[in-house]
């Protein structure tokens, strides 16, 4: 506990924690719209496209000035989005090839510019590499003010246009019909993915930022149904994964922050997909097993009942092997389960034969009840 207090009073750690909170807010809020509008992979392209912008910002400012770097990154990200749009709207190139081309080319441009800057032997160029994978520990207080400003602006925009954004996201046709400027709103929503990328530059880096756009939103979606709740929860997931990643990276030497943040977020996604109440894959699987068991038992009951009826002997003993071949599967388990429920019981049989089973009085009643719920074809 004292270790934690010590950690939190450290100046760098405070910066890192604040950066993580900002990252969480931005990626959580903006990512929800990206994921719901099925633009997840656009985030990947826009994140890679930020790299040349980082270099251009650096070249303009001449130093590692966060303001110019963020402006440059935003600029090239949006240009990349426009390039994809032009390519896919004006020619027969499909979205995936457009996105992939823009991603590869902008990143190549970034690499070229990065090596160009390194070739200038400028003393202050050292910090640019950290934008590849993020280095939370390199965050300055002044960077935080900028990140905070951009985050607040983005959140204010989302709150201000909440109704419009929501409508465009879920029902663009209806939004168009009621006279909303759908094209403009969609452009703004796309540009906001670039905004989230820019805010995450310092913490996660350009290569992995795509994950921070997608993961918090996907995780949040598993637990809640309403957009309001989803956005809030995504912010929480973003903050938690940002904090986990940033604090580990700040306390261990030479660990890039981005991969840690991404792994934390992915772990939360995995848990959410498996365990979220109602939607969890694990619960569904359990329901599936339970249903199968119930159906197996019901089939067995009706089989025994019909055998007894056919032989005009309520206590007709049916052999396990015969039931197996009749059902085309092993029936031992279903019989055991029925026995535990007191619906069937084993009876004495000839030596060398398999076990024999009869319906109990309760079993007969249960079988009659089941048969009544069945349609004639099923029975």
């Amino acid at each position: 506990m004292t270790g934690l207090v010590e950690l939190l009073s450290d100046y760098t750690v405070q910066n890192v924690a604040m950066g993580a909170v900002l990252l969480g807010i931005a990626s959580g809020v903006l990512g929800c719209f990206a994921v719901l509008r099925q633009q997840s992979l656009l985030g990947d392209t826009l994140a890679h496209a930020a790299l040349p912008g980082v270099c251009i910002g650096f070249l303009i400012a001449g130093t590692r000035d966060m303001g110019w770097i963020m402006a440059g990154a935003l600029g090239t990200s949006i240009l990349a989005a426009l390039f994809v749009l032009a390519l896919t709207r004006r020619t027969r190139i499909k979205t995936d090839a457009g996105l992939g081309s823009a991603l590869g080319l902008t990143f190549a441009a970034g690499v070229v510019l990065l090596t160009y800057i390194q070739g200038q032997s400028n003393a202050s160029q050292g910090g640019l590499d950290t934008f590849l994978f993020g280095q939370a520990a390199a965050t300055l207080r002044s960077d935080l003010w900028l990140m905070g400003g951009v985050t607040i602006a983005a959140v204010a925009l989302v709150l201000g246009c909440w109704k419009q954004f929501k409508l465009v996201t879920f029902d663009p046709e209806f939004a168009r019909a009621v006279g909303l400027p759908v094209a403009l709103l969609e452009t703004v929503l796309t540009a906001m993915i670039a905004l989230a990328v820019v805010i995450g530059l310092q913490m996660v880096g350009v290569v992995l930022m795509t994950s921070m756009v997608i993961a918090p939103a996907v995780a949040a979606r598993q637990w809640v149904k309403r957009l309001e709740h989803m956005v809030l929860l995504a912010v929480g997931v973003g903050i938690v994964s940002g904090l986990v990643g940033a604090l580990i990276s700040a306390s261990v030497q030479n660990l890039a922050t981005g991969p840690l943040v991404v792994l934390a977020a992915t772990a939360i996604v995995a848990v959410s997909i498996l365990l979220a109440p109602g939607r969890g894959v694990l619960w569904e699987q359990i329901r599936h097993w339970r249903d199968r068991r119930t159906i197996g038992q019901r089939q067995m009951l009706t089989t025994l009942y019909k055998l007894a009826a056919h032989h005009r002997d309520p206590d007709y003993p049916a052999e396990t092997g015969m039931l197996d071949s009749f059902h085309g599967t092993r029936t031992q388990r279903a019989l055991r389960q029925l026995q535990r429920r007191g619906l069937v019981e084993p009876v004495a049989h000839m030596p060398g034969e398999g076990r024999h089973w009869v319906l109990t009085e309760a079993g007969r009643r249960e079988a009659e009840r089941v048969l009544k719920t069945m349609t004639p074809e099923m029975a």
Binding site: S40, D96, S101, A108, V112, Y116, G119, I214, L260, V262
Partner: protein, 378 residues
């Protein structure tokens, strides 16, 4: 012969060209199947495979790495499909969840265990094509760069796959249902294609890194797609663009003293841009030109229909005159003059003084437009 393999310039360009050719061979089918982003996912996540294989065997390249990469690529796609099959996550988000996680795990393992090896974060992303000629293996008394050996083998493998399974690939790319109905197992072929993409990615990894590879796979086929409608030319043009990018990229990079791999990848973009602007059928210029010609043809048709309608009317003297075009058809003077000039040139209209007459050909054009059901008179 040794002078050839000892020539660093030649070796670098050859490596880049091989990456370009191999990349567009597999990339063509990925782009046509609309799965281009899977190459992005695969090339990121093989980093995970590479570091795992390295930790287990300490092999930085070679056959084990290549098999490991092929498995990682297939694993990536398998995991993506697994996540998408839960129906909790859309397909695109599933891709975007799986590969960054594998990539992040790979980078982290590099950070933790591979600090002193020459592979570092930069190589992971950017490659070191400028140094490929340093790392050589002696073959038949010749020191051949490892990158050339492995890229050459993988390129041959890709080419052999495309040649031997050309019919099957073509069918399952353009008509997967028919391919399945005929028993060609398009799913198996698809996984083989993805395994080959991963193999190519890991062979190209030392040269161009994980991300630049994406440009070599997607951009040349995309540019080629704008230049041709046929599969074989598309494959050839894509490979050609890869080679041309490697050559031009090398010289530009040397001239500007920047990353060679980056410049080669960027040059593929120059070709894409050229195809986008100047492509013969799908390029922007060709589209505009077609639209321009269409507009003029439409105007000429309007003119002949106008003349045809008024030919036998009482007011033929005031309708079928040059000055009427501006008032009755609402054209500007310049437009009217241009349309008239074009129609005269195409022999649709005759002019005598101010009066305009239809030629037999002009009349037939107008009649076909206004009464398309009537049989031709001539």
């Amino acid at each position: 012969m040794q002078a050839l393999f000892g020539n660093s310039t030649l070796m670098i360009i050859l490596t880049g060209a091989l990456v370009g050719v191999a990349g567009s061979l597999v990339g063509t089918f990925l782009v046509l199947r609309r799965n281009a982003m899977l190459s992005d996912a695969i090339s990121h996540s093989i980093v995970f495979g590479i570091v795992i294989v390295w930790l287990l065997t300490r092999a930085q390249s070679g056959p084990v790495q290549i098999v490991g990469a092929a498995l990682t690529g297939v694993l990536t796609v398998f995991l993506t499909e697994l996540v998408a099959r839960t129906r909790r996550v859309k397909n695109d988000a599933a891709i975007g969840l799986v590969f960054p996680a594998l990539f992040a795990a790979g980078v982290l393992l590099f950070n933790l265990y591979a600090r002193d090896v020459h592979i570092d974060e930069h190589t992971v992303l950017l490659g070191e094509i400028g140094f490929v000629w340093l790392d050589t293996t002696a073959i038949a008394g010749l020191d051949v760069p490892n990158a050339i050996i492995w890229m050459g083998l993988v390129t041959l493998l890709d080419a052999a796959f495309v040649v031997f399974f050309f019919k099957e690939l073509k069918l399952s790319t353009f008509d997967p249902q028919l391919a399945a109905a005929l028993g060609f197992a398009p799913g198996v072929l698809f996984y083989a294609l993805l395994a080959l993409t991963s193999t190519t990615a890991v062979a190209a990894f030392d040269a161009v890194g994980a991300v630049l590879f994406v440009a070599f796979v997607i951009v040349p086929p995309t540019a080629a797609y704008l230049l041709t409608d046929r599969l074989v030319p598309m494959l050839l043009i894509g490979a050609g663009i890869g080679v041309a990018s490697s050559i031009s990229g090398y010289w530009l990079a040397v001239a500007a003293d920047v990353s060679i791999g980056g410049m080669m990848a960027l040059m593929t973009g120059a070709f894409l841009l050229l195809a986008f602007l100047l492509g013969p059928r799908h390029g922007l210029l060709a589209q505009e030109w077609r639209r321009f010609g269409q507009r003029h043809a439409d105007a000429s048709r309007t003119l002949v229909v106008h003349l045809y309608e008024h030919e036998r009317s009482a007011r033929v003297d005031e309708e079928n005159v040059v000055s009427a075009l501006e008032h009755h058809l609402g054209w500007s003077t310049a437009r009217a003059r241009a349309v008239l000039a074009r129609s005269l040139k195409h022999g649709l209209v005759l002019r005598e003084g101010d009066m305009l007459y239809l030629t037999p050909r002009g009349r037939e054009t107008a009649r076909a437009l206004t009464e398309p059901w009537a049989p031709a008179e001539i």
